[in-house]
Symmetry: C2
Subunit: 341 residues, 2 copies
């Protein structure tokens, strides 16, 4: 059997509560006893047991990570990276991450994650779209939580976002510099705050460059930000209007779909049409040509969320506001100057 705190105490010749003081690096322990206890711990290879610690300290040492099902199946690589970011960061602070998914049709009665029911997390990170019922539940439970890449409007909360607006503007600026003016936008899930900001960036960039906005160049799908919908959106676009020389896609998946669609229709990329994606998912280097895209440091988003959450847990503060992380344009092969340039 593994050694307990009492074994250590016996070996060091102190009360076991003193060992606890040493363990937690509390004040008012003499250097000598500290050393003696340290040695006993070393010799017995003692490690405090997590569950006992949790019970006594009323802290679980766990952080919950919640994602809707469909995010995993659809946009997996993006949120997976965010998850991994939380995982690595939380290790530095001695927290475990407990992952779970929920259905988009979340109902508190049936879908409440087990770690919430069992009081097994000190705080929660929510990535991507969050059902309103879940937000409400978390508010009621009075448990610290931070959103990543999502937010409920008109509600005070803690949010980690990337700078979608400037990302889209940077992408547009790049296209302008290459001589493009007829630039199409394809998207979906336009109610998602990140996507609507990207679309906003597209429009602002046009306005800044004094180029007229045209509905003819916009195709926003009712469904998902998938490769397939990127393909579909581009097909519709081609039917409406063959006059564009570049496409800004709401994410890399749609950009990939656009690429496939244009190639099937005999276009050469980037010679005939330039394409810019968003997210910089790994698969963007597998397409031919490789995608020019707006890079998001997904791991960093997760890391920031963890630091945020731990700050909230420790300070008991409720609302720390919204953080924006910067993004940057990665120029690869899917963009080039217009023919006239």
């Amino acid at each position: 059997m593994a050694a307990t705190i009492k074994d250590v105490a016996r070996k060091a010749g102190v009360a076991f509560s003193t060992v606890s003081l040493v363990l937690n690096d509390r004040a008012n322990v003499s250097p000598e006893t500290k050393e003696r206890v340290r040695r006993a711990i070393e010799e017995l290879n003692y490690r405090p047991k997590h569950s006992a610690r949790s019970l006594a300290s009323k802290q679980t040492g766990n952080i919950g990570f919640i994602l809707t099902d469909d995010h995993f199946s659809r946009a997996e690589p993006f949120y997976t990276k965010i998850f991994l970011g939380t995982e690595f960061e939380s290790r530095l602070y001695n927290y475990y991450i407990l992952l779970t998914t929920i259905p988009p049709s979340f109902k508190a009665a049936t879908d409440t994650p087990r770690f919430l029911r069992e009081h097994n997390v000190d705080g929660v990170i929510l990535a991507g779209h969050v059902p309103t019922a879940l937000s409400k539940l978390l508010d009621e439970l009075d448990i610290p939580h931070v959103y990543v890449d999502y937010s409920h409007q008109k509600k005070q909360s803690n949010v980690v976002m990337m700078d979608n607006l400037n990302g889209a503007k940077a992408a547009m600026k790049h296209l302008f510099q290459l001589g493009h003016e007829k630039i199409a936008f394809i998207g979906a899930e336009i109610t998602h705050p990140s996507i609507s900001s990207r679309f906003e960036g597209y429009k602002v960039a046009l306005a800044d460059a004094s180029i007229a906005y045209s509905e003819q160049l916009i195709q926003i799908q009712k469904t998902f930000l998938s490769v397939e919908e990127g393909f579909n959106a581009t097909e519709i676009l081609l039917r409406k209007n063959r006059n564009f020389t570049a496409i800004l896609a709401a994410n890399d998946a749609m950009a990939t779909g656009a690429l496939q669609c244009l190639k099937k229709n005999g276009y050469k990329i980037p010679q005939d049409v330039s394409i810019v994606g968003f997210d910089n998912i790994d698969a963007g280097t597998l397409t031919m040509p490789q995608l020019t895209t707006v890079n998001i440091d997904k791991e960093e988003l997760g890391a920031i969320a963890v630091r945020r959450l731990i700050e909230m847990i420790n300070s008991k503060k409720q609302f720390l506001g919204t953080i924006y992380t910067p993004v940057d344009l990665i120029i690869r092969e899917s963009t080039s100057p217009t023919a006239s340039n």
Copy 2:
């Protein structure tokens, strides 16, 4: 404050140990008290606290998932899927998964995962390459563990594998049927049991078809199973010998690299050269043409590992042997009949 078992007992008018009996569905509780307790639980919205339960029952309710760092950065989508498989399956059995990565140069003194130090898991799942030092540590700690997609030779253990041999043979048979005989093999990390089995399958298939094996058609890299190395291997292959009409790649990443290399060299795929990958990663549908590949049900591998592990935890059995899950060929666009067919 949340209700405790004592609150429930008071409300139901029973001893709190009786509530525990009901909670754990033990024998010898009358239907009436059972009902009374159930109602009290319902009314108070009581849920047993995980940490208290762990402490008393000496079971943590957690399963550790260990992966080497480089697996996450390199072959991410593959092992990530396995991880997700364990996550979903473990939920059914009321276990939490605790994920951690370790360096390939694992040293017990410095790199032992925290959940092992803190006695915070009932068992461990190891995916992909496992450092020998870690295997030894787990044996010493006497903690149930199962390997997924890896195994240490000549050691009794618990392993979940896919049927690599037959996967490779199925891929070869497909190529034979299309008329291919000059089939190249590219690979890397040949010491990994899965990869060596795939290579073995390649050779067995040739022998079964009475086609001579030629070193000229083999290129095995010293490094990693990456897109880049697939590219490199194919370049070397082209220098050695331009006589092949098909390539079997050790995994999809290398197949993608081969595809990129051949296209850069002016080959048309699949008209000039057919390519078959292995793993069926999502990105295989993003290439043009889409990859023909051997499908592995990665989530299922994870799920099997969880069931295995829980069986071991409950039965105290040490060695349950090796399970092989079937694989199947997915024919997409990267393979076609030879010119002569």
